[in-house]
Amino acid sequence: MNLGSSVEIITEWDIVAARQLGRNEAKQVGFGTVDQARITTAISELARNIYLYAGKGKIEIERISEAGLVGIKIIASDEGPGIPDLRKVMEDGFTTSGGLGAGMPGVKRLMDEFKVISEVGEGTTIITTKWLH
């Protein structure tokens, strides 16, 4: 069973909308306050990266269940410039925008599963999952 919804990221306020949606879904799945904060923060990072680096894109949020486990899956996709060096962006402190460079590695630590698919000139898709333990 897959239940999903999505938010287009175009303006800075869409980041807030995506977060809100994520928080609601996380609540419905049954995540506690701490995991809700983790999921919301991860969405915030991915949505802001879309806004900053790709200009526009989409955050999809799905409730998932698999082998008796339930969880939440976030898909962040854009058709922006893509990421040339995937290993580098996963290093703490790597940034091309004068940020903290903590977003990508942070999301990986906040969530349970994390996958980046990116091609230069084509865009970036990030799929990340959190299971309810």
Partner: protein, 276 residues
């Protein structure tokens, strides 16, 4: 025939409203007709019906004041624009069906009635949707202003100690404002310790953290110390997971603890005085 239509509609008004309300209750995704008190639903329905029939005579044109007044109300009730559109459709359908049932509309005059209906409904729909979106834009811009007014002021609490309570989402624009108010306030209030209270900030992501770190650095440059307070347990955990280093900061879980620490940093303490 126009007259006939006006008279019939007036005659069957109660029934029209009743049928329309029933139909609106069946529409999905709108809570208005289910959760509002009956008298309010009734009043709003009547107003809507009145509005819908106000321009039906050729001589009477659309009353824009009335439309504005009504749309202001439904925007406040939270009607979606789709729902407003549906309301208009349903109203025109109900009237049409009823007039057919009462043999006002017959096979012979059907064509003329169709023309009459569209010249009645279309301009009305346009004006209502137009007023609706204007009202909606106005509401949004008012809320934006309200949000900006919420932004960040630095409050002198004790001599040398000031607090900035942050409430709500921090976007780039607000972050700039926070920085300005902070620096200006520290200087004018001669603060030595500034407490940034993030109890009311729903999400602390890397951008917010970055702004907080920059603000603290700037405060240090003008010779004061910055303390981060109101860090909820779940926020503390996400900050750690993000790998953000707040070691250079004094952090306290609550404003109260922060205040005690700030008094300590300025060589003071709160003592209880025995009552006399």
């Amino acid at each position: 025939m126009n007259k006939l239509m006006v008279e019939s509609i007036n005659e069957y008004m109660d029934e029209i409203i009743e049928r329309w309300t029933t139909r609106m209750k069946e529409e999905k995704g709108e809570r208005f007709f289910h959760f509002m008190p009956d008298h309010l639903v009734d009043k709003t329905s009547r107003e809507f019906a009145e509005l819908m029939t106000s321009n039906i005579r050729e001589t009477s044109s659309i009353d824009s004041d009335k439309i504005n007044e009504f749309t202001e109300k439904i925007v406040r009730f939270g009607w979606a624009i789709k729902f407003v559109n549906k309301a208009i459709d349903n109203f025109s359908n109900v009237v049409f069906e009823l007039l057919e049932e009462k043999d006002v509309i017959t096979d012979e005059n059907l064509r003329r009635f169709i023309v009459l209906f569209s010249s009645w409904i279309n301009p009305l729909r346009e004006s209502i949707i137009d007023a609706y979106s204007t009202e909606w834009e106005r509401t949004v811009s008012l809320q934006k202003i309200a949000l900006q007014e919420l932004s960040a002021s630095l409050i002198p609490v004790f001599e040398k100690i000031s607090v900035m309570p942050l409430v709500g989402t921090i976007d780039t624009e607000r972050a700039k404002l926070i920085m300005e108010n902070l620096l200006e306030g520290v200087v004018s209030q001669r603060a030595e310790v500034v407490l940034l209270d993030i109890t009311g900030v729903p999400v602390v992501d890397t951008m917010v953290a970055h702004h907080i770190i920059q603000a603290a650095d700037a405060v240090r440059l003008v010779g004061a110390k910055c303390m981060l307070v109101g860090i909820r347990p779940e926020i503390a955990q996400t900050i750690v997971a993000l790998g953000i280093n707040l070691n250079e900061f004094t952090t306290k879980s609550t404003l109260q603890r922060g205040m005690q620490a700030a008094l300590g940093m300025t060589n003071r303490e709160i003592v209880e005085v025995n009552g006399q």
